[in-house]
């Protein structure tokens, strides 16, 4: 299987998951052989023509996961598919044959398996964990800090959880991993400024409109001319609730054709004054060499002055709206430079927040590994507790048989006392056992506990081989 373990220098974005970008507070050393893997491609490695062939919707993702379980025997899997990435998270990391089958499922979707290898990457263990956390926090996104990805990670997780399979496709490790990834995303967005501000012309226009009009439901937008940015802006406004799109173009026919595509009405630019009177937001992107919206135009549209807020978004070059129009009361004029400056400023602010965001990722990574390692103590702790509980129950029952004169309340108190005593006695040993396992003394400690309490290895299971452990600052 010719999957690359790292991007060949393709990840130049601020959220790259290359080793050199590891969080600077990464004081906790993870297990050296954590059997987790991510296989996939993203905007860092594949052009849109490739990415779009690998987009899975929810039912398709569920089917792919079920197939993976059936054909490749993979225990736990989650498929994250967005317009910018398609990634399979697998636990434990499958053998090469199963991995090849997993890749084949992606390949079948893409249609041409031969092409796919050059775009795919594979990350294992610590890198896979960090990668998911960076993805969920929006630090690996095309637009740094974008929030949509967190919902997509949640959706991928929920889709996998909903797959009907026994045992479930999402087991304890991926469940914990994805829950923590969502928590990382939440923390990064609430504790840092990485998600602050909007980062595209369309979203800035929506934000501006929201701050002027409040709810955009029922507002009307006029589009002068056409163009992809104008189209995206109108789409974004539509998602925010704007209804009623008025499209004005040099020719009415062309305007009507464009309008029919967005469910609006078409007008000729000769009807500009009536269009302006009906609109709350105007997005202008004509190819006119002269401004088409001047003070005089506004004067004709609003003879008594602009008597309500009017947002003008001028994304044309050369500009469609004369600068002095912005001086009119109630007119809020933003041209392409203004919008670009706002976007740049927001992105700069986001970039400045990167160290703090990475610190959070590092902290959560360490927490995940602590949890993962502590799982090794689970069987022996359960066994120890079961044994102790059995002794407690039989001894309490014997005592209560001798104390028949006790009232039901007093009997309940004796039961409660015995439980509390047991919990207090076991608290320190179990906590220390977990800590010991996390520190790397697992096998020795588990053996000691088994010997001291007479627990069977069969009963407690073998202590998992988590690879050579080293002392870790994070837990000492």
């Amino acid at each position: 299987v010719a999957l690359r373990s790292r991007d060949p220098g393709g990840e130049t974005g601020p959220g790259t998951t290359d080793g050199g970008d590891s969080p600077d507070v990464h004081t906790f050393r993870p297990p050296s052989e954590m059997p987790l893997a991510v296989v996939g491609l993203s905007h860092h490695t594949a052009p849109v023509e490739v990415r779009e062939r690998l987009v899975f919707d929810r039912p398709e993702a569920a089917r792919a996961l079920a197939t993976l379980r059936a054909e490749a025997g993979i225990q736990e899997a989650v498929l994250l598919s967005t317009c910018n990435r398609t990634e399979l998270y697998l636990f434990p990391e499958p053998d090469p044959e199963a991995l090849s089958l997993a890749r084949g499922i992606l390949g079948r979707r893409a249609g041409t398996i031969h092409d796919l290898d050059q775009y795919l990457y594979r990350r294992g263990g610590e890198e896979a964990v960090r990668h998911l956390f960076l993805v969920s926090a929006g630090l690996d996104s095309m637009v740094l800090g974008e929030a949509e990805i967190q919902g997509q990670v949640r959706e991928a997780f929920e889709t996998a959880v909903a797959v009907r399979s026994e045992p479930p496709v999402v087991g304890p490790v991926l469940q914990r991993l994805f829950e923590m990834a969502l928590s990382v995303g939440g923390r990064v967005r609430s504790e840092t400024r990485v998600g602050e501000g909007t980062a595209s012309v369309a979203s800035v226009a929506v934000e501006l409109a929201g701050k002027i009009f409040g709810s955009l439901k029922g507002r009307r937008v006029a589009v002068l001319g056409a163009g992809s940015t104008a189209e995206r802006t109108v789409e974004a406004l539509g998602r925010a609730g704007v209804r009623g799109v008025l499209v004005a173009n040099r020719t009415r026919e062309r305007a009507e054709t464009l309008a029919s595509m967005v469910g609006g009405e078409g007008f000729s630019l000769d009807d500009l004054t009536s269009v302006l009177r009906s609109a709350d937001i105007v997005v202008s992107s004509t190819s006119s060499s002269e401004p088409i919206l001047t003070r005089a135009t506004l004067g004709r549209a609003f003879p008594r002055g602009v008597d309500r807020p009017l947002l003008l978004v001028d994304i044309a070059l050369p500009r469609d709206v004369a600068p002095e129009v912005g001086e009119l009361p109630n007119v809020f004029l933003y041209n392409v430079d203004d919008l670009g400056e706002i976007v740049d400023e927001h992105l700069q602010r986001r970039r400045e927040a990167l160290p703090a965001a990475r610190r959070i990722v590092g902290e959560q990574e360490a927490e995940f590994f602590r949890w993962y390692l502590a799982r090794g103590a689970g069987p022996v702790i359960r066994s120890l507790r079961d044994r102790a509980e059995m002794v407690r129950e039989s001894e309490t029952a014997r005592l209560l048989r001798r104390l028949e004169h006790l009232s039901p309340e007093d009997r309940a108190r004796v039961e409660e006392f015995s439980r509390r005593l047991l919990n207090k006695l076991l608290h320190d040993p179990t906590t220390r056992l977990r800590d010991g396992v996390v520190r790397g003394d697992g096998a020795e400690l588990v053996g000691t506990v088994r010997y001291l309490y007479g627990l069977d290895a069969e009963e407690t299971g073998e202590f998992p081989d988590l690879g050579p452990q080293q002392p870790r600052k994070g837990v000492e």
Partner: protein, 269 residues
């Protein structure tokens, strides 16, 4: 102690609003601030209920009780706003005003006032309550107006910083100011009408030389002027916001002037 607890909670709410502004207006900060206001209002209401039970008197007579009641009315007005998303952020202006009112009330003392014959009864209580509702409306309109003007400036100057993100949308602020002014103006008009009728009935006519009357008339104009400014052509909302702010400042300044100079005479609140 309960009054003091309410005051401390109002101060905490004001601080939380300020913090929310500084960190970019996150919903968690706003939720905490609204929670603090709710707790403050609960304590404040208990304190004034105990006042009524103890003194068998509504907290409307005397400067301390009247200021505390006005503070409570403002706090109560913030409660439904907490459910309305960004609009709740007017709390950043209103809660410091509540702190000033409640603080002043506690300094002068929220205690019973010797009942003067005539200054009691249902009509008198209604007169005072309506007047306080009028000031409540003016204060809320002032808060919305200040934020409107700041947001307008941010949008015009294309600075989309912390203030831009924190302050509610212009349309929401305008709606809130309009409701405050309409309710306040109607209440104040009724209060003055009842006051006039009451004076004619119990005092043999209106004492036109009473500074209280001048201040009441100014308050009525202060509520009416922004409404008038909102009619006509051009940027009506902005003009209305500016006139509201000027009116509020004029009412407060006139009150302080009358209060701090001997011209008002001993009967002035």
């Amino acid at each position: 102690v309960i009054h003091l607890t309410a005051l401390v909670l109002y101060i905490i709410a004001a601080a939380l609003w300020l913090r929310s502004l500084l960190v970019g207006g996150g919903s968690r900060g706003a939720g905490l601030a609204s929670g603090a206001v709710t707790a403050a209002v609960a304590f404040h209401a208990i304190a004034l209920t105990l006042f009524v039970l103890e003194f068998r008197q509504l907290p409307l007579v005397g400067l301390g009780p009247a200021l505390s009641t006005l503070a409570l009315l403002l706090g109560v007005a913030l409660l439904p706003l907490a459910m309305k998303g960004e609009v709740a952020r007017v709390g950043i202006v209103v809660t410091p005003l509540i702190v000033v009112l409640q603080g002043a009330a506690m300094i002068v003392g929220v205690s019973n006032f010797p009942v003067v014959p005539g200054v009691q009864g249902a009509w008198f209580a209604l007169h005072v309550v309506l007047a306080l509702v009028g000031y409540q409306g003016l204060t809320l309109a002032f808060a919305a107006g200040v934020l409107y003007l700041i947001q307008f400036k941010e949008l015009k100057s294309k600075r989309l910083g912390r203030l831009f993100r924190f302050i509610p949308p212009l349309a929401s602020l305008d709606t809130m100011a309009r409701v405050g002014l309409v309710v306040g103006f109607a209440s104040m008009t009724l209060a003055l009408a009842i006051g006039g009728a009451w004076a004619a009935r119990y005092q043999g006519g209106v004492d036109w030389g009473n500074p209280k009357l001048a201040w009441a008339a100014l308050s009525w104009i202060a509520l009416g002027a922004p409404l008038a400014a909102r009619s006509g052509k051009g940027a009506r909302e902005r003009r209305g916001a500016a006139v509201t702010v000027i009116s509020f400042v004029a009412v407060v300044a006139t009150y302080l002037l009358l209060r701090l100079t001997p011209a008002a005479g001993p009967g002035f609140l």
